[in-house]
């Protein structure tokens, strides 16, 4: 028998995995497991929610434990099949990824409780909860993977689950919206695949830590600008950045309101996360050269979103434009590239996940109370429920970026970072957008809540299961608005970890640094 001179055992991880490190793969694995169980119990409408809600609560717990673990020990890596990186597919959790994953899990838990009264038996039989769990598998996987082709696979997992959710109910309106959503998102992920193919051709590796090392070493001879631009377009399309944002206002108002809420909280932010991961960590020099382009796209995205929101009479479509204007703020933070700018983008993304989900829930409840989503017909909501009206006003202020709510701090961080480099036009654009958003949502409040009801309101009450997640999400935005210090410190660490990925690389290749 021939003996290979190479010692194959050197390519394997021989030490057992530390129990705490299993946390890295647990979020997507747990979601897939729970999703599979739910698929088997598809016809048991009552069991679905009873399994899905505890499963998502456990996901929140796992992500919270992972956040504690990562903030104490730095980035954690686990490699599939026990191959050593870069040969095995690595899962690497750093602070940015875990923060996004935790916020996503909280949003999904809130959505699953809110869905109790929003998704009827038919919707559950057609698989709302299994799709939600599989969507979360895709979202968690995307936030925690350390391999760029694996990121593509998670993108596809969350995309196919979101297709299932968006057509749930199959009304003509939904089919129309789903067509635009599906085609444009599929083109975006195909662009991502093109970029990843070229990236493999250039580097011969797909591990993000390995790419970061090789890009830094051989930058001068490699066509990295092409890659950075392809990633910018692909992920910009996923994040609904101008001028590739048109799929969002065409589709987000069509599905069940809780599905819109989950989409607004989760999907565009995955695009932003991927932009941060590729442009800040892998291609920082190229991002620097693209910064004017990204800043212009960010300003256009903000203004298109804010002006679009002013022109809508359907509150769900109005919120779709508000999602877009928030993406603009994150892009401006990304274009600045400084720790303050990137930190602001991360903070704004987390804030937007919570607040946009809550706002779509508000829109859904307003529609349920008044029987319409049309601003021309809405009215008298304040007299129906003062608590609901107060929660709505808090969320309207929060998304406009007014203090003392969570939207204020990231805008301050982005504006401060822009002032530091003397980019006054960016500061002006951020404040103008905040002003326009305040007008758009203030008008919603004036018309739908303060204006006396023009017609007799249908006799509907808000069930506790719909109000509870709304109260919880509003409490989060007020809490992080009043006491932002702990979160700010964590986000500063996260932003530094992205800009200077030595700890990330060190966790994938122990002993290199």
């Amino acid at each position: 028998m021939a003996v290979s001179p190479a010692d194959l055992s050197a390519a394997f991880v021989m030490t057992p995995v530390a129990p705490a490190d299993w946390l890295v793969v647990l979020p997507p694995a747990w979601c897939i497991l729970a999703g599979a169980v739910l698929l088997m119990l598809r016809k048991s409408v009552r069991l679905q929610a009873m399994i899905a809600i505890p499963a998502l609560a456990i996901l929140v717990l796992v992500d919270a434990l992972l956040l504690v673990h990562v903030s104490q020990n730095g980035p954690v890596t686990m490699v599939m099949g026990r191959w050593l990186p870069p040969f095995g597919i690595a899962f690497t959790a750093d602070l940015t990824g875990v923060l996004f994953a935790l916020a996503g899990a909280v949003v999904a838990l809130a959505g699953s409780v809110h869905a109790l009264s929003d998704i009827d038996g038919t919707g559950r039989r057609y698989g709302f909860y299994p799709f939600l769990l599989l969507l979360m598998a895709g979202v968690s996987g995307a936030f925690l993977t350390g391999d760029i082709f694996n990121l593509y696979v998670w993108f596809e997992v969350l995309l196919i689950s979101s297709f299932g959710l968006i057509v749930l109910g199959s009304e003509a309106r939904q089919i129309d919206g789903a067509i635009k959503y599906a085609f444009l998102n599929l083109v975006a992920t195909t662009l991502f695949l093109i970029a990843t193919g070229y990236l493999y051709g250039i580097f011969g590796t797909l591990n993000m830590a390995d790419i970061a090392v090789k890009a830094a070493a051989g930058r001068a001879d490699l066509p990295l600008m092409t890659l950075a631009t392809l990633y910018l377009v692909a992920f910009g399309m996923k994040a609904a950045a101008f001028p590739v944002n048109f799929w969002l206002p065409a589709s987000y108002h069509t599905p069940r309101v809780v599905v819109s809420a989950l989409f607004a909280g989760l999907l565009t932010k995955v695009g932003i996360y991927a932009l941060l991961r590729t442009l800040i960590m892998l291609f920082p020099i190229e991002r620097e050269e693209l910064s004017v382009v990204i800043a212009l796209a960010g300003v256009a995205t903000m203004l298109v979103g804010a002006l679009g929101a002013l022109g809508q009479s359907d509150i769900r479509r109005l919120l779709g434009y508000v999602v877009i204007s928030g993406i603009g703020v994150m892009l401006v933070g990304l274009s600045l590239g400084s720790p303050g700018g990137v930190g602001g983008a991360i903070f704004y993304a987390l804030h937007s996940m919570v607040v946009m989900t809550a706002l779509y829930m508000v829109a859904g409840l307003a529609g349920r109370l008044a029987g319409t989503f049309d601003l021309n017909r809405l009215g008298g909501l304040h007299t129906r429920s003062a608590l609901f009206s107060t929660l709505s006003l808090v969320l309207f202020f929060a998304v406009s970026g007014l203090p003392p709510f969570s939207g204020f701090w990231p805008k301050v961080m982005v504006a401060k970072a822009a002032m530091d480099i003397g980019a006054w036009w960016l500061v002006a654009a951020v404040f103008l957008t905040g002003f326009l958003t305040t007008i758009a949502l203030g008008r919603v409040f004036a018309l739908a809540y303060w204006r006396p009801a023009g017609e007799a309101l249908p006799d509907a009450a808000i069930p506790a299961s719909a109000l509870l997640p709304l109260v919880a999400l509003t409490a989060l935005t007020v809490g992080f608005g009043l006491f932002p210090n702990a979160l700010l410190a964590t986000i500063q660490h996260a932003a530094q970890g992205l800009a200077d990925p030595r700890a990330y690389i060190g966790s994938v290749f122990p002993g290199v640094n």
């Binding site: 089919i175 067509i179 085609f183 193919g197 022109g311």
Partner: protein
């Protein structure tokens, strides 16, 4: 061989973009399929194209004796083919359903979600 493939990929991309610019969904769908295949071919070309050379490392060596094609891009393509095929199946059903429910496959006439003369919000009350 690579040059031939590069030209072929260029043709695939051109045809895909041309089809996707159409307003008829069936053509757009075919464009998406072609685009997926163009990407798969470009991944394939990325891993070198060589005939009849198995990527097997002979005994006593650390690296293959001759230049071989890299099998990893082919594994990537396999994943991408499965994914793009399932998406194609989904989109085909979706387009057919849209044709049944909306009575058209012309994207310009699909204005159910975004009506053409949507009223503006009231200016005051």
């Amino acid at each position: 061989m690579e040059l031939l493939f590069v030209i072929l990929i260029g043709l695939f991309f051109a045809a895909a973009v041309y089809l996707m610019l159409s307003k008829f969904l069936v053509r757009v769908l075919l464009g998406v399929v072609l685009l997926g295949n163009a990407v798969n071919l470009s991944l394939f070309t990325n891993g070198r194209i060589l005939r009849d050379v198995p990527p097997i490392i002979p005994a006593g060596h650390d690296v293959p004796a001759t230049l071989t094609a890299n099998p990893l891009p082919q594994a990537l393509i396999l994943t991408a083919i499965v994914i793009s095929f399932s998406f194609f199946a989904f989109l085909l059903v979706l387009v057919y359903r849209a044709y049944q429910d909306l009575g058209t496959d012309n994207a310009n006439e699909m204005r159910v979600a975004e009506p053409e003369n949507d009223p503006l919000p009231p200016a005051g009350y």
